[in-house]
Amino acid sequence: MTAPLDVSGGDLKATPESVAEGAGAKAIQGRSLGQIAWMRLKRDKVALTGAGVIIFLIIVAVFAPLIVGWFGHPPNQFNQDMIDTMTMTPKGGTGISWDYLFGVEPLNGRDLFSRVVYGARISLLIAFFATLLSVVIGTTMGIIAGYFGGWVDTIISRLMDVFLAFPVLVFAMALVGVLGQFETQLKVQGDTLRILLLIFVIGFFNWGYIGRIIRGQTLSLREREFVDASRSLGARGPYILFREILPNLIAPILIYATLLIPTNVLFEAALSFLGVGIQPPTATWGGMLAAATKYYTVPHFMFFPGMAIFITVLAFNLFGDGLRDALDPRAGR
């Protein structure tokens, strides 16, 4: 991150901390905030582990077809020879073998490993884009409310209150159901439609949180000297908003985006669990969990998608915490 303007950047760079960081044999060097944050992050092993897991998950999601090609079977393929036709549960209890790393589903014998891997695609895709949507709406609304104040602030703040007070899950269920009917009008079908819908529903109703944080930050930033300075030099609203204030908001935005992603992973899982998410046979973690509740006597069916959600959420949370510690100089360590 570069400081917004030289005039304002100067005072930030010369923090005593950066001097302390650079203490040593070398000559004292100026470091940007970004460099400092990166150094701190590098020292945080827990956050780095989280980041590693996240990168791993993204690789898994992106290369799902390749991975499944090597280690599994097509995710929607029935393997009914793996199923005991009397109890409809996998032969031998789970069906776990070198051929089926996570075993097979009851009833139709689909490869659980492949389904968990493909499930990562849907979960991460929806979580990322829903978060992006929340962040874009939240930041725009928050920055406008905070900077302009007055009646603009009042209206936007009340709007945020409304969204924060909304029974999102119930409303999302209704909305997905209603919008799902308009496939012909919307000109999109099947999974694409459902994914877009979920991104919209999850993203659109979660911007209130981030909006509030951004508004608060903007309120304090707009009174800072560097803003006054640039205003006195003749800068106008848009310039100040996007060149002066926004860059200083990158830290909170990044932090809350990272922490919002796991929330959205869970939200998507909840919707899929309730049956308003992606349509079968496409694999999603929440959908698998929902199916698994019928088969509590076959615990591996619930274990693997459950663990996938757990690990994803944990990794994002750990990384988000670490990122916050690194980016926020005032946070106690």
Partner: protein, 587 residues
């Protein structure tokens, strides 16, 4: 004419025969311990499927509390407003129709026996007039006498389908009602003697608009359970149904619990059908499915009212545990799960393409989707085997799909490389989800690409699959479907689902069968007076449907039910294909 099955299946319950370890104290049977596979008791049968043809754990001991439960609420306890098989079975403990089903195991349970009436109906006017005489000494729970006018009122009130949205419309369709009669609530003064006459307090005469030789089947409907006009509160009557049977409601908490206690005004002398053994019934609603199964297995509950089978988890447990398998029954229900093949949208308007769908489908895979061998036998036609006139058809192979033949059919249809279509299913029914997935897998092998679309059960027929405007606009080619008999003959099973003239704007159950030849057979069957000849015609209609490839039958439904611990006289009645709820007692 649909008898809805609860989606969430559950188990029935009954006795743990001779060696039940739960007896506790008193009279212990010195039965051999260990494994539970020891010699069954002499009185009554025991073991797997013992309840299909025998009364298990027979006893005349009175007293005790029978605990029943169900995973969800059913439509209503008002006899005029209910369309669930389990409800029709259960309501006979507090309501008495004119005639009812003999409480006996197996096929004997399908026989009709007089209940309120002294005998079965007297037919005259070539089947257009039916007369019943009521027994003497009948009383409601408040002590007032039950007269033929109460029966007439009960039948007339439930014709009002705006107030009572559930339940069949047989009386609406067949009674010779005056034109200006709308409802007992809006047109109370209209003379309805042309439909139902009550010449005296113990005689009731029904007049039909066309002959029907099987009218006793109508008289066995819950609609004939008497309702005193003075106590009728319309839709609120369900909060306090006035009992005519041996039990009356003590507490009614809709969606939670019902308790029923003895109705002191009921006289055993007037009722040769019921034994009325327990002192009390406790009915819990909304019990989670797996919890319900486990509590019946443990003996904490006696009967799962739904009677459609245990949850998948218990299915495995019961089969792998000999003691539990001994307590289980696996009856075939008069219900078929099938897939409608909608010929409205090309290329499925071509019979060869419809045949290709049937030929390519994996019939074993479908059976597995519906729960495997214990949940259903692979179906060869729409009509299930327990219906008179059924014959085994052999029009299509029933193995795992015949790709070669399917390809031939596709070529004959002019779509050698397959085609694309959409399949709907009820998203909240895991079995239908699995069936749709199975179809998608199987059809893909011959190039038929299925897009799957799930909808909630509550709107499935009213807004989606059962609404021709929707299915045509969205190119729906296949739709999961299922049907259970209202009573076990061709009329009770087929008439609503194969007759193209029943198709309305929305809310259809017949999604795909529009064949004049089938309609003609339906008319023939209605007119035929002889039972055997009539059954044969229904059998022909069933065959015609399959020849037209309008449906892909999946399975004749079965359920794995488990008998409760310490329950006496538990057996499967052929009338409802679940445990009979009239004879049950508690040890």
């Amino acid at each position: 004419m649909k008898k809805k099955a609860l989606v969430v299946s559950a188990a029935g319950a009954v006795l743990a025969l001779a060696l039940s370890a739960c007896g506790g104290g008193g009279t212990e049977t010195p039965a051999a311990e260990g494994g539970g596979t020891s010699a069954p008791a002499a009185a009554g049968a025991a073991g797997f499927n013992a309840g299909l043809e025998n009364v298990t754990n027979p006893s005349d001991k009175k007293g005790g509390t029978l605990k029943m439960a169900v995973t969800e609420d059913w439509d209503s306890v008002d006899p005029g407003d209910t369309y669930y098989g389990m409800s029709w079975n259960l309501l006979r403990i507090y309501g008495r129709p004119l005639v009812t089903y003999n409480p006996a195991p197996g096929a004997k349970g399908r026989e009709l026996v007089p209940d309120l009436a002294e005998s079965l109906g007297q037919m005259s006017d070539e089947g257009k007039t039916w007369t019943y005489k009521l027994r003497a000494g009948l009383k409601f729970e408040d002590g007032s006498p039950i007269t033929s006018k109460d029966v007439k009122y009960a039948v007339l009130r439930q014709l009002d389908k705006k107030t009572f949205v559930n339940g069949p419309t047989y009386f609406n369709d067949w009674l010779d009602l005056p034109k200006d009669f709308e409802s007992v609530y809006t047109t109370p003064d209209v003379n309805t003697d042309s439909a139902i006459e009550t010449p005296d307090d113990s005689t009731i005469v029904f007049h039909l608009n066309k002959p029907y030789a099987g009218f006793d089947n109508f008289a066995a409907l819950p609609a004939t359970v008497p309702v005193p006009q003075a106590k009728d509160t319309g839709i609120k009557y369900r909060d306090h149904v006035i009992a005519s049977g041996p039990y009356k409601f003590e507490t009614v908490e809709a969606g939670k619990t019902y308790t029923l206690v003895r109705n002191e005004q009921w006289d055993q002398a007037t009722d040769p059908v019921r034994k009325a053994l327990p002192d009390k019934y406790e009915i819990s609603l909304g019990v989670e499915g797996n919890d319900l199964d486990n509590r019946i297995i443990a003996g904490d509950l006696h009967v799962d009212i739904a009677g459609s089978g245990v949850q998948p988890a218990a299915l495995g447990t019961i089969q792998t545990t000999p003691e539990l398998k001994e307590r289980a029954d696996n009856p075939v229900a008069a219900r078929t799960w099938y897939i409608s093949i909608l010929g409205d949208v090309p290329p499925l308007d071509n019979i060869e393409c419809r045949k290709a769908v049937i030929l390519a489908s994996d019939r074993v895979g479908l059976q597995n989707a519906y729960g495997g061998q214990l949940a259903g036998d692979i179906a060869t036609s729409l009509m299930p085997p327990s219906i008179g006139g059924w014959k085994k058809l052999d029009l299509f192979p029933t193995a795992s799909g015949d790709e070669a033949k399917a390809k031939e059919a596709l070529t004959a249809c002019g779509q050698p490389n397959g085609f694309e279509t959409t399949m709907t299913f009820r998203a909240d029914r895991p079995k239908e989800v699995a069936a749709a997935e199975s179809m998608q897998q199987a059809l893909a092998k011959v190039g038929i690409k299925l897009t799957l679309k799930g909808f909630p059960t509550s709107e499935y027929f009213t807004a989606y699959a059962g609404k021709p405007a929707y299915t045509k606009a969205n190119g729906i080619g296949l739709a999961t479907n299922g049907w259970g008999a209202d009573w076990n003959d061709g009329f009770g099973f087929l008439s609503q689902i194969i007759d193209s003239r029943t198709i309305r704007e929305a809310g259809n159950y017949n999604l795909s069968i529009k064949d004049p030849a089938v309609d003609a057979l339906v008319d023939q069957a209605f007119a035929e007076q002889d039972t055997a000849a009539r059954d044969a015609i229904w059998g022909q209609a069933d065959q015609k449907v399959m020849e037209g490839a309008y449906v892909l039958p999946a399975v004749y439904a079965k359920g794995l039910l488990i008998r409760g611990k310490g329950v006496t006289n538990q057996f499967i009645t052929g009338a409802f294909d679940m445990y009979d709820y009239l004879a049950l007692g508690v040890q």
